[in-house]
Structures are given as structure tokens and as C-alpha cells.
């Protein structure tokens, strides 16, 4: 990524740049935790206790770890729904809609066809989720490519529409009459549900998420198609000059990203809820936006960031129980982190040596120019 022709300092400059690239988000996250501590302190809650519980609830013991990793699974996939279109130059924020429809599709498959009661059934259910999620986000991409509609707005409008469709079907034609208080669809057969990894509470969806992040990271970095997507996103003019099929590549990135979010919904249904109900609308799509931005839209970097924010989500209920903080406290932390991460972009590429020199010089007393026309009074 360094400038060509930078000469012998090329390696040094790239090194320095990579270190700063990694340190900036970490610094922003630490700043967010400090600000969050200040925020709860203003409400009369001890910040030290809050930080301690935040990490205890996230990574304190095996029980917390299982909770954290279970939450990280959908986060990785919804973050990919932001990251892939972003690499193609689109800001898609409607992952929640793809997730919800993916879950709905997964629950709908058994209504439409008999499923084999083994891993093939699970696979079909996941493919259904992937397909509908991909189609939903590709629609936002197509509206932008062919009609010039802003994809950020349209994807969010599509998300609200998806939630309305979800509620209509779950409370109406697909409702299992046995679910009285909480309208839900019929549960998936136990044989096609996704179970825990080696007997733990962490389901295989976590592995699917990690594999998806790694595979798409390799796809972007090493394949010609992935490289073309990055060219289209990085410099549309160049892409046009080289003759890349921009629209097709953008639609591909949107479909893959949306597919991941749809897959997240299908996995949530098959592994966590066993049926589609309103609990599926849990905000993973929105948290995925934050995860992707912190990971700078790099699929591989999404894995640790998703685990971190899955952990904060897991710690939320502990904060609620022990300190009486509202359940939205994690959302506040996410919001602060998002703002600081974006603000930290301003520090990227700052020449610290020159800035230090300027600062040092400004500290010294100003010299009066020799031929000053200003007469001392």
C-alpha cells in the first residue's frame, strides 16, 4: 500500500504505517472505555466496577467465553455484510433486514418441502437464508447501480420493510398456533438444528463465521475477482478505464455480504431460537456496522473485533444485574466507540515528527522580524 518510488525508506514507512493502522483503533477503543466510565460515573456508578464487570462478563470464565463466542457468530457475518460492499465502494447499513429475512427463510423451508433429517437439511436451511439475504442486499446495490438511489438510505428502508414482512408472516400465516404469548413459527426439527461444538454451548455457527471471514479475506486479497472488487471500490475511474464490469462486481459484493447476513439469521434460528420469532430482531445487523468500521472493512480483522463486541454484549446483562445499569448501556458504549473510531481517522497519516517540530517551535519565544515596521509603544 506504500507509495511506489518512495526509495529506501519504503519498508520503514510501510512498517510505521502498519503500526499506526493497528494502534489507532486500539487507542480509540481505550478512549471509548474511558469515556463510558465517565458516563456511568456521572450517573453515580463506579467506573472501575463497570470496567471490571465488563471484562468479567465477557472473558472472565468459560461460561462468559461461551456467551461471548455465541454472540460473536452473527456479528462476524453481519459485519461482512458491511465490509464486502464497503470494499466495492458502497455504504450498506441494512444488514438487519437481510438477517431477519434469512432467519425467516430458514424457518419457512420446512413449510414448503420435506427436509432430510440430517446435515443436508441444515445445509438447505442455511442456503435458503444465504440466498434471500443476498438477494435483499443485492437489491440495494442494483438500485444504486441502475437507478442512482443512495444505497445507505435504501438498504435501511429495505431493512424496515423486511422487519414488517417478518412480523406479518410470523404473526400471521406462519404462526405456530401453540405459541400463545410470543408468536413464533413452527420449530425446526431437532435433527437439523445446529448443535454445540464438542458439547459446549458455543454452536458451530461460530466456526462458520470464522471460516467465512477467512475465506472472504483470502478472496479479496488473493483472487482476481476479489482484486477487481477492490479496484472498483478504491478507484471507480481506474476500474472504468481498465474495463472492469463495475456493476456486476458491485452486485457480487452486495450479494455475498447480504448472503452472510442472511446466513447469520438462518444460523440464529437453527442454533439459538429453533424457530423464527421477534427475538431474532436483536440489533446484530446494526452492531455489525460498528464491527466492520472498526476492522476497517477487513474480513480477517472482523474476527477479533466481533469477539470483543460479542463480549461487551454478553457483559451487558451482568452490568444490568449487578449495577442496575439500563440494558442500553452496551449500546451507549458502542455509540461512543463508533464516534471515536471515526474521529481517530483524522490522526491517520499525521506526520508526528513534523507536528512535534512545529509544536516545539511554537513554544519558543517569537523572534521579532528585523525590518519590523511595527513600532513598540
Amino acid at each position: 500500500m506504500g507509495r511506489p518510488g518512495a526509495g529506501p525508506r519504503f519498508a520503514e514507512v510501510t512498517m510505521h504505517k502498519n503500526v499506526v493502522d493497528a494502534l489507532l483503533p486500539i487507542g480509540a477503543l481505550i478512549g471509548a472505555l474511558l469515556l463510558f466510565g465517565l458516563f456511568v460515573w456521572l450517573g453515580g456508578v463506579s467506573p472501575v466496577e463497570t470496567w471490571a464487570l465488563l471484562f468479567k462478563g465477557a472473558f472472565g470464565d468459560w461460561f462468559s467465553w461461551q456467551n461471548t463466542l455465541t454472540r460473536a457468530a452473527p456479528l462476524m457475518l453481519t459485519a461482512l455484510c458491511v465490509a464486502l460492499p464497503a470494499r466495492a465502494g458502497l455504504v450498506i447499513i441494512g444488514g438487519e433486514g437481510a438477517l431477519v429475512l434469512g432467519g425467516l427463510a430458514a424457518a419457512a423451508v420446512p413449510y414448503l418441502m420435506p427436509l432430510p433429517g440430517n446435515i443436508v437439511g441444515t445445509f438447505i436451511v442455511c442456503v435458503a437464508g444465504f440466498a434471500i439475504g443476498g438477494a435483499w442486499i443485492a437489491l440495494a446495490g442494483a438500485l444504486r447501480q441502475y437507478r442512482g438511489v443512495n444505497e445507505t438510505i435504501s438498504s435501511l428502508l429495505l431493512a424496515y420493510t423486511a422487519i414488517a414482512i417478518f412480523k406479518q408472516l410470523v404473526e400471521g400465516p406462519m404462526r405456530d398456533p401453540a405459541t400463545l404469548n410470543k408468536p413464533s413459527t413452527r420449530a425446526l426439527a431437532e435433527t437439523i438444528q445446529i448443535g454445540g461444538i464438542f458439547g459446549s454451548d458455543v454452536h458451530w455457527g461460530f466456526v462458520i463465521g470464522v471460516v467465512a471471514c477467512l475465506a472472504l479475506g483470502v478472496w479479496l486479497a488473493l483472487t482476481a475477482r476479489g482484486f477487481s472488487v477492490r479496484v472498483v471500490g478504491g478507484n471507480p475511474r481506474t476500474a472504468q478505464l481498465v474495463g472492469l464490469p463495475a456493476s456486476g462486481l458491485i452486485l457480487l459484493a452486495c450479494a455475498l455480504g447480504g448472503g452472510c447476513a442472511g446466513l447469520a439469521g438462518a444460523i440464529e434460528v437453527a442454533a439459538v431460537h429453533t424457530n423464527a420469532n421477534a427475538s431474532l430482531i436483536a440489533g446484530y445487523g446494526y452492531a455489525g456496522i460498528l464491527v466492520s468500521f472498526i476492522a476497517r472493512h477487513s474480513p480477517v480483522a472482523i474476527i477479533p473485533v466481533a469477539i470483543l463486541f460479542g463480549g461487551f454484549g454478553a457483559a451487558g446483562s451482568l452490568l444490568q444485574r449487578r449495577l442496575g445499569l439500563p440494558d442500553a448501556s452496551v449500546q451507549v458504549l458502542q455509540g461512543i466507540a463508533f464516534v471515536l473510531i471515526l474521529a481517530s481517522e483524522a490522526l491517520r497519516g499525521v506526520d508526528w515528527k513534523a507536528a512535534g517540530e512545529r509544536f516545539r517551535r511554537s513554544m519558543q519565544p517569537k523572534e521579532v522580524p528585523l525590518n519590523s515596521t511595527v513600532k513598540p509603544t
Binding site: Q145, T152, F293, V332, G335, F338, A343
Partner: protein
């Protein structure tokens, strides 16, 4: 037929006048922001946070008008943050808007937790028919025309903004910053300064929209108070082609569209309620598809606006 149609129309009219008010304020706020050359998607967060602040202000002081003032101040503060952040180098206005959307709703849910149960003093309704000296034989229309007292404020504001953009020094400066940053600089004005001021003022206007959500019928604070109205309003500005006057019509149209579901329910049709709640979103999408053209800048859009390109 008319015994069904009349209540339905009355419910739509009442809904348009009620639901349209928040749309009106947020779209006017966004219009001002975008005229200065920035897009603020964070107005969704501004709307929710100021709705909470309005309710809290009214609850604590006992005066709904204090609630309105608090809402405007809160909206301005959150939007000011957007304006300042976007003035930093390499900070993108769309991404910042998304961040403030999350932060605003998070703060509102956190701080508004104790406000879910209590009642706060509400704004007194304006009886339009009574003021015009007219009377309607239908009680339904009479209640539909009990409008939010902030509605005339919004209408006046729209006219004032229309006049200001065309005739005043401030309005022309905002448009200048929105159309050409380099020309603004050449004339010796601070582009960032103008944009920060316009964004904060836009946030204050959107804050009035928040106040109209919680301080007028049905008048309570809950976490589902807004589901994307702030964002729809951003799309409305494109539809209104950046004209404050057209924002009025667009807001009332969307208010009416949002009222279809409840209106049908009021005449006994309740199936498909969830689908009808999606009408405003779908309508917005359809309007965007119709009014946008690929590769062509939307008519009337400020030249510096990244979203319109």
C-alpha cells in the same frame, strides 16, 4: 359506503397532520444541513434523543414548552458533534451519521429508562376549526383537526427558510458553502464554520420533531418511538428537491401514508397491519427510484453534497 369512507378519510387526515409533524421538522433540519453541503444521517439519532429529552424536560419542569426548548437544545448539541467531527480531515459525513444514529438512540434508551412509566405535561392541541370560526358536523373531523401546536411553527419555519435561502445573507452563505467550497473560501468565509453552524441549527429543528413525537397525542416515551422517521426524512429532502416549501407537502404525504394502517384499523380492518406499517418505507423507496437518475445529479441538489453524486 360513506359511513366507512368518512371515518377512514378523517383518520388519514388526522394521521397526516399528526404523523407529518415530526417528518416536517426533521426534513427541514436535514434540508438546512444538506444546503450547506453535508448529509447528516444522524438526525434519526437526534430525533430519538430529543424526543426523550422533550419528555424528560416536560416531566421535570411540568411545562411542555420547556420540554420543547430542551429538545431543540439537545438536538443542536448532538448535531453540533456531527458538524465538528465532519470538519476533521478524512472523516466521512455518512459514516459519522451512522455512528450518531447508534449513539443517539443508545443515549436515549439509557437516559430514558426511568421515563417509560410516568406521564409528562402535554402540549395543548390547537382546534383549527374553532379558530377559523367553522364547525364540522362530524365529530371525527373535529378531532382530526385538533392539531399539534408545533405544526404552525413548522409551517412558518418552512416559509422562513424558503425566504432566507433566497433573500438573506445567511441563507446565501449556506447555499454558497453547499454549492462550492472553493468559492466560499475565495470570498474569505470559513466553509467548516458555516457547515457546523448549519448542521447544529438543523439539529435544533429536528429536535422540535422529537418534541412533537412525545409531547403530543399519544404522548408517551418508549423505545419504539421512532423507527426510521429520521431516515425517511433524509430521503424526503431528495424527493422535495432541497426546497423547504416542498418539504411541507412531502411530510404531509408521508404522514398520511403512515396513517393508513391505524386508519384501516379504526374502521375494523386489522389484518395486514404490519404490512401497512411498512407503507412509508416502500413509498420512500418508490419515490427515490422515480426521482433519482443514474449518473445524473439530482435536480436542485447542492453541488458539494456527496450523497447526490
Amino acid at each position: 359506503m360513506s359511513d366507512i369512507l368518512l371515518p377512514f378519510l378523517a383518520a388519514i387526515l388526522g394521521g397526516a397532520l399528526r404523523v407529518g409533524v415530526p417528518f416536517l421538522f426533521v426534513s427541514l433540519g436535514e434540508c438546512l444541513t444538506e444546503k450547506s453541503g453535508r448529509i447528516n444521517l444522524g438526525l434519526e439519532g437526534v430525533l430519538v434523543l430529543s424526543a426523550m429529552a422533550a419528555f424528560g424536560g416536560s416531566f421535570l419542569t411540568g411545562s411542555p414548552w420547556m420540554g420543547v426548548v430542551v429538545a431543540a437544545a439537545t438536538g443542536a448539541a448532538l448535531a453540533l458533534l456531527h458538524g465538528l467531527l465532519c470538519s476533521l480531515p478524512r472523516v466521512n459525513d455518512v459514516a459519522t451519521g451512522i455512528a450518531l444514529m447508534l449513539l443517539g438512540t443508545g443515549l436515549a434508551f439509557y437516559l430514558g429508562k426511568p421515563l417509560i412509566q410516568p406521564q409528562a405535561a402535554q402540549l395543548p392541541p390547537l382546534d383549527v376549526l374553532h379558530m377559523m370560526g367553522a364547525r364540522s358536523s362530524s365529530a371525527l373531523f373535529q378531532s382530526a383537526l385538533q392539531v399539534n401546536p408545533l405544526l404552525p411553527v413548522g409551517l412558518l419555519l418552512a416559509v422562513a427558510m424558503y425566504w432566507a435561502f433566497g433573500r438573506t445573507r445567511w441563507g446565501l452563505l449556506v447555499r454558497l458553502a453547499g454549492d462550492s467550497a472553493s468559492a466560499t473560501k475565495a470570498l474569505g468565509y470559513s466553509v467548516n464554520g458555516i457547515r457546523i453552524a448549519a448542521t447544529a441549527a438543523g439539529g435544533a429543528i429536528a429536535g422540535l420533531g422529537g418534541a412533537s413525537l412525545t409531547l403530543f397525542y399519544p404522548g408517551s416515551w418508549n423505545e419504539g418511538i421512532s423507527s426510521g422517521q429520521g431516515l425517511i426524512a433524509v430521503a424526503l429532502v431528495i424527493f422535495a428537491r432541497w426546497s423547504p416549501l416542498r418539504c411541507v407537502g412531502a411530510a404531509l404525504l408521508f404522514g398520511g401514508a403512515g396513517a393508513i394502517g391505524p386508519a384501516l384499523q379504526s374502521i375494523g380492518i386489522s389484518s395486514g397491519y404490519n404490512l401497512f406499517s411498512a407503507v412509508p418505507y416502500v413509498l420512500t423507496l418508490v419515490i427515490l427510484v422515480i426521482s433519482c437518475r443514474p449518473g445524473k445529479v439530482a435536480e436542485g441538489s447542492p453541488g458539494e453534497l456527496s450523497s447526490a453524486r
